[in-house]
Symmetry: none
Subunit: 228 residues, 2 copies
DNA sequence: TGTCTTCTTTATAAAATCTTTATATCTGCT
DNA sequence: AGCAGATATAAAGATTTTATAAAGAAGACA
């Protein structure tokens, strides 16, 4: 459940800054580009979830950018422009824009239109399932299975296991685990970790006395071993 | 490829006429409705490819119509309204509108926005009847049955159940449920949720003391379990 | 106006989970 | 082997969360 990424292509630095702050406050990742060229490169490299495109770019017309973009970019594009002529709007929409806002626009409305487009742009998403050995974790459904059998985990146990599964094979330090699962102020509570690791092992290990999935790295942390 | 069908819901006869002519000239089939009630019926019967909805209807607020519609209608909805306030626009978009045009709008722009939405809309069908285990939910008629027997649910109970049914198997957090059913300002009222979950269980569970359909995920939320 | 339905609050019991404590076991080192 | 620090585990205790009934409030409707 990552934050969506939005690419802003606008040549005015103040607008870029303003949008960056606004969007980051609304829990988006923000990429910035000042020219058409940079914008297209950034779009290709980062595959943003949505693009905010200014029509008045120095190096290339925004309409051109839109056309080029639409040859491969399927995510939503919102045009921001000072041009309020109907011809511009119709052209942009027919070139593949999903929306067109005339500057100066209202921030709340822009955010609502972004929400609306992002909400609908998740068509064929396959629920990300992590499979490690006999353990299966469906992060969307929030279901953990061992050999097709559903396990009952508490919220904390689940966070811990999900964190391990996302870092299969890597050693996770006590400090890191405590900070990620319990929060910054619990980094000294190593005993928590021991208690919950024991509980998890009781539920997922074949022989909890000989842990094979969550192995302890003494004095450092724990490691989640999937296969071999 | 058939001509796309557009449903116009507006109480002013001149606007209906005008839109009908405009749209038919642009190769669309047009359906007309003058009230919220007729509009909802027409939407259910004809499954249009797009709806143009006026916010100022005599019998019911357009925002209400939108919410009810969105319980099962997945195709695009464009709001046409004399209201130009940001709050109205944001509310409509968050209620599921795909676009919002302030009257008087420009015809060319409206047509371009319609083209844009229809181009992008997936022909994917959304079955308006969900069956999960013994429970059947008709999202169009808003009727819930358990083993062919109609259950009497209040509006809130229905919204909650419909939301669950649309997300079968996945954990829905307290926060999410409260926001979707009651609205953003109620996200802290977890007690509501408990009360209504208890009421729902009394109505749909075989043994309300041992919930098998709506199971609680302590400290996280609830999960709607269909079969298995 | 009174009745009915539904929503909202309050109160309390029950359940689940988290936290702490106690003790046993392990690990690496001299 | 013996020690010290680190880890494992069970179980008691404390706290939070959940379930449920029921009372009060707010509307709808005739």
């Amino acid at each position: 459940m990552n934050k969506p990424t939005i690419l802003v292509i606008d040549d005015e630095v103040q607008i870029r800054k303003l949008l960056q702050i606004t969007l980051e406050n609304s829990e988006y990742n923000v990429l910035l580009a000042a020219t058409a060229k940079d914008g297209l490169v950034a779009a290709a490299n980062h595959k943003p979830d949505l693009i905010l495109l200014d029509l008045g770019l120095p190096d290339k017309s925004g309409q051109e950018v839109l056309k080029v973009l639409r040859e491969w970019f399927a995510q939503p594009v919102i045009i921001l422009s000072v041009q309020s002529g109907e011809d511009d709007i119709v052209l942009a929409l027919d070139n593949g824009a999903n929306d067109y806002l005339v500057k100066p626009y209202r921030t709340g409305e822009l955010l609502a239109r972004i929400r609306s487009l992002i909400r609908r742009s998740v068509p064929g998403e396959s629920s990300p399932v992590i499979t490690v050995g006999q353990i299966t974790i469906d992060l969307v459904l929030r279901v953990v299975k061992k050999d097709c059998e559903v396990l009952k985990l508490t919220a904390t146990e689940y966070s811990l296991l999900a964190l391990f599964a996302k870092n299969e094979g890597r050693v996770l330090t006590h400090h890191y685990l405590l900070r990620e699962v319990w929060g910054e102020s619990y980094v000294a509570q190593s005993q928590y970790l021991r208690v919950f690791i024991a509980q998890l092992r009781k539920k997922i290990e074949n022989d909890p006395n000989r842990p094979a999935i969550i192995v302890t790295e003494s004095r450092i942390g724990y490691r989640f071993k999937g296969n071999e």
